[in-house]
């Protein structure tokens, strides 16, 4: 039971970084971005290839982030400059990434077993494999959360938030909304690729199919965070995102323990997310039935 818990926490913390990335596009920018399915393997493949060639794992992870940013840049340019709808632009990046990933890997998967990863130095200090991942994951989540929080408080970060809140207003305030959209997509996909790089190093391999369903996992974690912790400010939200990602892993571990076939997991996640997304609608319906006339919008 402890192993199950530890495993979920370690994995959850790594995926929390991606959840923050998904939050950035879905909530802050109000733009659904599907390129994460591609950029997560882009990150994994970049890191895996460099490490398997004997490169420094930290440098490899850094380059993985840049690869993710590049993916975000492509989606952003397709969406803003070429006016392709965000979802389609994301799908194009995602599809294109598969071919690039296979070129980077040189095969459909690359093993990292017994190679030096970012977790190795913690294991050398005497931590168990899982605890090393938990410690490293915590540091990475805290660092990316804190950096992002500070960024959102800057002039540029405010411009990104204004873009997501009201594009017309943002332009009227002299904000180049194309630039802020591209910037936000780059940061988001950089975080997603960072998760890809860390997950690959944790599981000991990178494969081209590990990205499938990423967006749904990200959304599931995000929605768990939002439903369970209805906080208002960004700082608390960033913390709850990490909690959401860990809880998602715990739920998955428990249902697997209870005997669900691993192949049914994606259906389970998809249904859970669909239900969670419908929840506010159902809640509204019920509250309207309960009190007539009160349900109207307060903004005339």
């Amino acid at each position: 039971m402890l192993a199950l818990f530890q495993g979920s926490v370690s994995l959850g913390l790594l995926w929390a970084v991606m959840t923050i990335g998904v939050f950035l596009t879905f909530r802050i920018l109000s733009t659904p971005d599907l390129s994460v399915e591609g950029t997560i393997i882009l990150g994994a493949a970049t890191a895996a290839r460099i490490i398997s060639e004997g490169g420094d794992p930290f440098f490899a992870t850094f380059l993985a982030i840049l690869a993710g940013c590049l993916g975000g840049l492509v989606t952003g340019v397709l969406h803003t400059k070429f006016k392709i709808p965000a979802i389609l632009a994301g799908i194009l990046t995602m599809i294109g990434s598969y071919s690039i990933v296979i070129r980077i890997l040189g095969a459909s998967n690359v093993s990292l077993l017994r190679l030096t990863t970012v977790f190795t130095f913690l294991q050398d200090m005497g931590l168990s494999n899982r605890n090393a991942v938990i410690v490293f994951g915590l540091v990475v989540v805290a660092a990316s959360g804190a950096l992002l929080y500070c960024f959102l408080g800057t002039e540029l970060g405010s411009a990104v938030r204004a873009t997501g809140s009201n594009r017309n207003m943002a332009r009227a305030q002299g904000i180049n909304t194309d630039t802020t959209t591209i910037l936000c997509l780059m940061i988001s996909n950089g975080l997603v690729a960072l998760t890809g790089a860390l997950v690959a190093q944790n599981q000991g391999f990178a494969s081209v199919d590990m990205g499938m369903g990423t967006i749904v996992i990200g959304l599931a974690s995000l929605i768990i965070a939002e439903v369970l912790f209805p906080v208002r400010n960004v700082w608390s939200r960033l913390i709850t995102l990490a909690a959401g990602a860990v809880l998602y892993r715990l739920i998955i571990a428990v249902v697997l323990e209870l005997g669900m076939a691993p192949t049914d997991l994606r259906l389970f996640t998809a249904i859970t997310v669909a239900l969670a997304l419908t929840l506010p609608l159902i809640r509204d319906k019920f509250s309207k039935m309960g009190s007539h006339g009160k349900g109207g919008s307060k903004d005339a």
Binding site: T154, E155, S158, G164, S165, N166, G174, T177
Partner: protein, 264 residues
């Protein structure tokens, strides 16, 4: 300050719903001119205003602001010279951001945005003072999200944001049309005060004849994509709603048919 020359705009060119909205509009505003722009639905008032704002580019003609040709300047670059308040109170502000953050966004309209803090404490003190001048009690709610404010409060704040950096031209697009009859005059009054204070060159679109007469120093009426009336100075001061209706029929050769324009 604002010089519009022979402006043409057609929407949906080459389709069955092709609509020639602006048919050669020329207009020159002197510094400090406060023009009210009136006309029936489809007269081209908002289209004229939006062409100045850069929401779209005109098909023909030119727009010059304080000697700078902005005809082909994108909306966000033109914003440095302009202050805008929209008809929909939801349109002018970022509803998920706080009052001070919204003001800070407006304050940086013509500046390069960097990695410095989005709002500084020094700014907050200044905003608090400016908000207190609005007499809406907003100075005590600086960290409230805009979504919590009423339509009137939002429009008043949008006015403050639009005038924060002293724009060369202030564009008001029926900014009180969505407000209740009690709030609308208050927002108009706040607008007049800010315009007078900074001596702003202003264009205000309105559906309301009374407002068009009572505010500003010049009144322009549009019909069918053209300017049909341009009244200023003493003549404008003596103008009544009846005069305006008579002049409109005379100028456009049609009966004035706009219930909304007569109301209020």
């Amino acid at each position: 300050m604002l010089d519009i020359k022979n402006l043409h705009k057609t929407f949906n060119i080459g389709t069955p719903i092709e609509n020639h909205v602006l048919k050669g509009v020329s207009l020159r505003l002197a510094p400090g001119d406060y023009v009210t722009l009136i006309g029936g639905n489809g007269a081209g008032k908002s289209t004229l205003l939006n062409s100045v704002a850069g929401t779209f580019f005109p098909d023909e003609g030119s727009i010059t602001i304080d000697g700078i040709d902005v005809t082909s300047l994108p909306e966000h670059k033109r914003a440095a010279y302009l202050g805008r308040v929209f008809q929909d109170p939801m349109m002018g502000t970022a509803t998920t951001m706080s009052i001070d953050e919204n003001l800070a966004l407006a304050y940086r309209r013509s500046k390069r945005r960097t990695l410095r803090w989005g709002v500084t404490n020094k700014e907050r003190a200044r905003y608090r003072e400016l908000l207190a001048n609005l007499e809406l009690g907003l100075e005590h709610r600086m960290s409230d999200k805009l979504g919590l404010l009423s339509g009137g409060q939002r429009q008043a704040l949008t006015l403050l944001m639009a005038t924060l950096t002293q724009p060369k031209v202030l564009l008001l697009d029926e900014h009180t049309a969505a407000l209740d009859p009690k709030t609308a005059p208050k927002v108009l009054e706040i607008g007049d005060r800010l315009i007078a204070q900074h001596n702003l060159t202003t264009m205000m679109v309105t559906h309301n004849m009374k407002n068009a007469i009572q505010h500003g120093n010049r009144l322009i009426m549009m019909s069918g994509g053209r300017i049909v009336l341009d009244i200023a100075g003493e003549e404008k001061k003596r103008l009544t709603v009846e005069d305006l209706i008579a002049k409109f029929s005379q100028a456009s050769g049609e009966e004035f048919a706009g219930d909304q324009a007569l109301l209020g």
